[in-house]
């Protein structure tokens, strides 16, 4: 079966006063039907910009999608007219953002904002849209949905707002839901609710989900595959179990080492990654992780490693020394 989305060499830059920011530097991957893909990386690694580039929501200028192809269901999104793109957004790809308060309009009711999309994309009349909206609010687990229809965003709690956002995103039955750190602003028990909800909805509706996060802990139980990003590049990707249990890239090892394990012995030290991510204006020509890597050698400074196949099917890594590092048996 053909993948739902195929991205080739996507490159996004921002031209700023301080120089050109190389936010996404030629990433390629595929996303299958009915799959949950985790995109993991720290702030500034290009994970959100890459999602915005797919949706063509990068502001131009200062932004520029400099190169690449995004094939979604057979069409290259980057070549569509703005008018055609507008039917893709919301209708075929929907997005949920990090901060549910600032992505809802405070002066319209929740019900109005959700039914608006239905009237626009699904040609429903007001009454049909209202009924469908109430169904959707029920689906995402908002109690007394009919009463809540006329509430304003400030009358909802953070978790409920994120549910409303998800209801809005699902309103047109998209083929792909992009969730950009949707639980970062929420408490842990509410976060657990939202994760459960998305897993349930993915199974019920059969859509694909891209879950963008900085926390390797959150995605462990929900995603099928993971792309690990660093400095606008995918530096490791593979099935979720391979990423966690047979980690290949030193950066991914560092990310996992930074998380306290739940069954660690008292007094265990966290393995932190020294230093800071590189400046995206002045990206090193070699491996972007060079300056922070414990296994670096001369070659890493000069040549940038490309993704190559690892020992497991579908597991790739961009590191010159991954074989040697594996042999050292560190991970």
């Amino acid at each position: 079966m053909k993948p739902l989305m195929e991205i080739n060499n996507l490159t996004t830059r921002f031209h700023t006063q301080d120089g050109t920011v190389n936010a996404v530097n030629g990433i390629s991957y595929t996303l299958n039907h009915g799959e949950i893909l985790g995109v993991v990386g720290e702030s500034g690694c290009g994970k959100s910009v890459h999602a915005l580039s797919i949706m063509r929501l990068v502001q131009i200028p200062p932004g520029e999608i400099a190169a690449g192809e995004v094939f979604f269901d057979g069409r290259d999104l980057l070549k569509l007219s703005e008018k055609d793109m507008r039917t893709v957004r919301g209708h075929e790809i929907a997005m949920v953002f990090q901060d549910p308060m600032s992505s809802l309009n405070p002066v319209y009711t929740i019900g109005f904002q959700i039914s608006e999309a239905l009237i626009l994309h699904k040609n429903m009349n007001k009454r049909q849209a209202k009924e469908r909206t109430i169904e959707l609010l029920n689906l995402v687990g908002i109690p007394e949905a009919r009463k809540r229809f006329d509430n304003f965003p400030h009358q909802f709690s953070g978790g409920m707002r994120q549910r409303a956002m998800i209801a809005m995103a699902l309103s047109c039955e998209p083929k792909l839901l992009i969730a950009d750190e949707p639980t970062t602003a929420l408490d842990v028990t509410i976060q657990a609710q939202i994760i459960n909800l998305v897993i349930r909805l993915q199974q019920e509706l059969g859509m694909s989900v891209m879950w963008i996060t900085h926390d390797l802990g959150i995605v462990a139980e929900m995603v099928h595959r993971i792309n690990v990003m660093y400095a606008g590049l995918i530096i490791e990707r593979g099935l979720v179990d391979d990423i966690y249990n047979h980690t290949l890239h030193p950066y991914t090892m560092g990310l996992l080492g930074s998380l306290p394990s739940i069954d660690e012995a008292p007094g265990t030290k966290l393995i932190s990654i020294p230093g800071l991510p590189p400046d995206l204006v002045d990206l090193p020509s070699g491996c972007p992780f060079f300056a922070r890597c414990t296994y670096r050698e001369e070659r890493c400074a000069k040549e940038r490693p490309q993704l190559e196949n690892g020992p497991e099917e579908g597991h790739s890594v961009a590191c010159w020394r991954w074989r040697e590092i594996q042999k050292m048996g560190i991970s």
């Binding site: 842990v188 976060q191 657990a192 802990g217 462990a220 930074s258 660690e264 932190s272």
Partner: protein, 327 residues
């Protein structure tokens, strides 16, 4: 808990209510937000006490009230044998040297118009009469201590990354060689790899300087990593208090159980195997907490008694305290 350990801080029946006025113009004070409602715990010298709970549970209010940044509504805060709430302003100031705070947001807690040197020496200006040169030397030492280049003294906060700013905040907190440092969500605005750097630094400083920490956070896995004992709060009350392993392996309160099961596990197999307890609904408003047990609106086990009577906070095993009728 080791019995020879010295008590450093006792929080006894602490209450902090904030008045909530009703109406836009009338300013009638009819209701109170019970931000902290009858909280008691001890902190021993040299330990790290983790204070966890979700938004609005009162953990930050407890931290601020300990420092007397808020005046408690009732209850006592006894620091090294002295009741802080009854202390006159001048004496309180002297005590404050011994308790410092590291704040959550390293972007908001450093004055953008002050150099790093003046930020770190500010507490020295207020509390000591060191000579200029002595202060400069001290600032350099502190920068080295937190892993920053001492040549950075004349730079401004905007020249630093989030993790580095947090190090500056830590240096400022340590300037007066305090006994107790209250860390109010010091890592929650940092990236994962930087979080580990800061947590390692805090642990290292504790070993080296014999500090006592109260570590306030909502990220349970990190709190569990750094703490010796943990306090779980919900809606202004302490739900459970125990040794960090005890509370993780044998949580007794249904809220603690749910909280522990909501912690992300960075291991796919273990994460899929565990039973998650998904709590229903949201945290009630502290303006009108439910009758009886505060947790009864979300508790999967709630019985009739939970809606009638507030559970007593009691020691069910040595050093393991729980407030639940069913535990």
């Amino acid at each position: 808990m080791n019995m020879e350990k010295k008590l450093l801080l006792q929080v006894m029946n602490l209450k902090k209510y904030f008045p909530a006025s009703k109406g836009l113009f009338t300013n009638r004070q009819v209701r109170f937000v019970k931000a902290v409602d009858d909280v008691s715990f001890d902190v021993y010298d040299g330990e790290t006490l983790g204070l966890v709970g979700e938004t609005g549970c009162g953990k930050t209010t407890v931290a601020r009230t300990i420092l007397q940044l808020y005046h408690p509504t009732s209850g006592k805060i006894i620091f090294d044998g002295v009741d802080l709430s009854s202390l006159p302003e001048n004496d309180l100031r002297k005590m404050r040297r011994r308790m410092q705070m590291i704040f959550q947001d390293p972007y908001a807690s450093l004055n953008p118009r002050m150099t790093v040197g003046s930020i770190i020496s500010a507490p020295l200006d207020v509390h000591t009469d060191l000579k200029r040169s002595e202060k400069q030397e001290k600032v350099q030492d502190l920068l080295k201590l937190v892993g920053l280049n001492p040549d950075f003294v004349n730079r401004y906060p905007h020249e630093f990354s989030g993790g580095q700013r947090q190090r500056i905040g830590i240096a400022r907190a340590l300037a007066l060689s305090p006994d107790l440092v209250i860390c109010d969500e010091p890592i929650s605005s940092l990236d994962v790899s930087i979080q580990a750097q800061v947590v390692n630094l805090l642990e290292e400083l504790q070993d080296r300087l014999g500090l006592t920490y109260i570590f306030v956070a909502h990220d349970l896995s990190m709190v569990r990593h750094i703490s010796d004992r943990m306090v779980v709060m919900y809606l202004g009350k302490v739900m459970e208090l125990a040794d960090r392993n005890e509370i993780y392996l044998h949580p007794r309160h249904p809220y603690t159980k749910a909280l522990m099961s909501a912690v992300p596990i960075p291991n796919p197999r273990k994460a899929r195997d565990r039973q998650r307890i998904i709590l229903k609904g949201d945290i009630p408003s502290p303006l009108n907490p439910p009758q009886g047990c505060n947790f009864n609106t979300r508790c999967p086990l709630a019985q009739d008694i939970c809606f009638e009577k507030d559970p007593e906070y009691r020691e069910i095993e040595p050093n393991h305290f729980v407030a639940c009728h069913l535990a």
